[in-house]
Symmetry: C2
Subunit: 317 residues, 2 copies
């Protein structure tokens, strides 16, 4: 970690934290953890979200720091983007982010464009949560149970529950430290994982029904129209994680979830297991992410998007 | 760990290891890990299974130690039961287990009946894998990558991927040590979790379709007939883990999977989240297990078994 980053954060009187749009467990967990630690050390802190905190993460401590950014928002001494690969991922807050006299970008996405004054990008790290943990250690700030709950959630969600290849001995050492604060793993896990609704299960069943295997069963594709989603009684956010259904099949290398957002806008989530770099596939459609988990938005119908994605993946299998 | 146990194992020239019937990841992983470590230290070792190693665990190193016990089997100096709560869980190997001059019982089930000469039961431990790790440390035996792979699998599977409440800082410290041997987490996780078949997914969809919510959605029940299972093209072993579908629903405290084994024999798997002790429910039907995960076999039709189980759980909700 850059000494200048530590110095800047230590000296700032006020800090605003910017997680990426459609914030996931890592973005929200890291932001609230950093926010609480900075507040506990006497700083004025805001966490500027693009959207409301998703229902699943509302249990996280520190939610009171979160709010929406608008033009009347106070300008902080220092703006920190967390888990944000590029300015596009700041959404409508892009301009606001650069209003502060100094900006820092802390992330683990290999595609990070280093858009801030100071950038700490560690693509080897499994999660921004781990980087945030090390940052708090360097800052010599106390990690209490509330902060540990947020960091645990950040790390657990971005490592797929410690299953992905990016999970290291260091990851587990950090988790052991976090558990030492007395947090309740069973309870947190239930909040993160056992929060399904009957409707979401119906959506899972629907996705299995629609699942197609291509290319000798190495590619799994689920294309969900808005009608498919709503016919089960599920909400759009219930689609999170559905891409893992295809991934769970033994023969599958790449799993694609193709989801209608509107008549003309299709969101694509991609996961791979061993050799296909899905961040390359996403990049074709101006998306981004990691080698094994990436996403993009395609303008067109769901059928067109499906065809394009299958073509792009085919070449890499 | 009892010093006498360490001494007995150290001094034995030959050791036979007995995991429980229907061996799961913890039973098989712990048995193969202990088996390889003892073999590497020059002992003659057998792992006596009741059934073949399930397909999902065939990737584990040390499988060549595994075999079936019969009357012509060699008698070892020492027989060790691993992860086995009572003699019934040794199945047809019950008599053979007591043929050795000395027997040891190493387990973490709270219902353990301490049936051997020497018994080490640690009900606080999340898995027998953790106890086996500590045993190997006490024995000062090297934990190489093969042994680490088996122990990782044992611990990961019995903690529900480190999600269950029994997962401690110690669990993660042990996992960090195991990862330091250079094992490939991504690969092992894929073997354990991403080994689904298209048919198993169809069975998952079928189970969601059949899922019933009772008692204000606090109890989830899935009753699967043999016809339900086979109509999807799935195998009986594909039912493993289906009990977690009901458990994943936010409102659910107890999830029951009721599975027809034959016209008259019904297997029941139970999971709870916070306050229902399902080992008590299982005990009513001569079953056993842990507070949060237990099982039993009921003689009768699937409808009768369902009725009995719902009645028994109702009282505890």
């Amino acid at each position: 970690m850059d000494k200048e980053i530590i110095k800047l954060i230590s000296e700032a009187g006020s800090v605003a934290i910017f997680p990426h749009v459609n914030a996931d467990g890592d973005a929200i967990g890291s932001s609230l953890a950093l926010g609480m630690a900075l507040r506990n050390s006497g700083k004025k802190v805001w966490v500027y979200m693009e959207e409301d905190i998703p229902t699943v993460y509302k249990f996280l401590p520190g939610g009171e720091l979160a709010g929406f950014y608008d033009e009347s928002a106070d300008t902080a001494d220092l703006n920190i983007a967390l888990d944000t690969g590029d300015v596009g991922r700041l959404g409508s807050r892009g301009e606001g982010f650069f209003m502060a006299p100094c900006t820092i970008n802390i992330d683990h996405h290999i595609t990070n464009t280093k858009f801030a004054h100071l950038n700490h990008v560690n693509a080897v790290s499994a999660s921004t949560g781990e980087i945030t943990y090390l940052l708090l250690k360097k800052l010599e700030m106390e990690i209490n149970a509330d902060i540990a709950t947020c960091l645990y959630t950040a790390i657990a969600t971005d490592t797929g529950g410690f299953q992905y290849q990016n999970t290291t001995a260091e990851t587990h050492k950090i988790i052991a430290e976090l558990l030492s604060t007395g947090i309740n793993v069973g309870e947190i896990s239930q909040r993160i994982y056992d929060n399904t609704t009957y409707e979401k299960l119906k959506l899972t069943a629907k996705s299995i029904e629609l699942l197609e295997l291509h290319e000798n069963s190495k590619l799994a594709v689920v294309a969900l129209s808005l009608e498919d989603i709503f016919s089960t009684g599920a909400k759009e956010e219930d689609c999170d994680g559905l891409v893992n259904i295809g991934r769970s099949i033994e023969s599958v290398e790449v799993s694609a979830l193709i989801k209608e957002k509107s008549n003309t806008e299709i969101r694509v989530n991609l996961r791979s297991k061993n050799y296909v770099d899905v961040s390359e596939v996403a990049a074709i459609f101006d998306g981004g992410g990691h080698k094994r988990a990436a996403g993009c938005t395609i303008i067109g119908t769901i059928e067109e998007a499906k065809k394009k994605i299958i073509e792009a993946i085919k070449e890499r299998l």
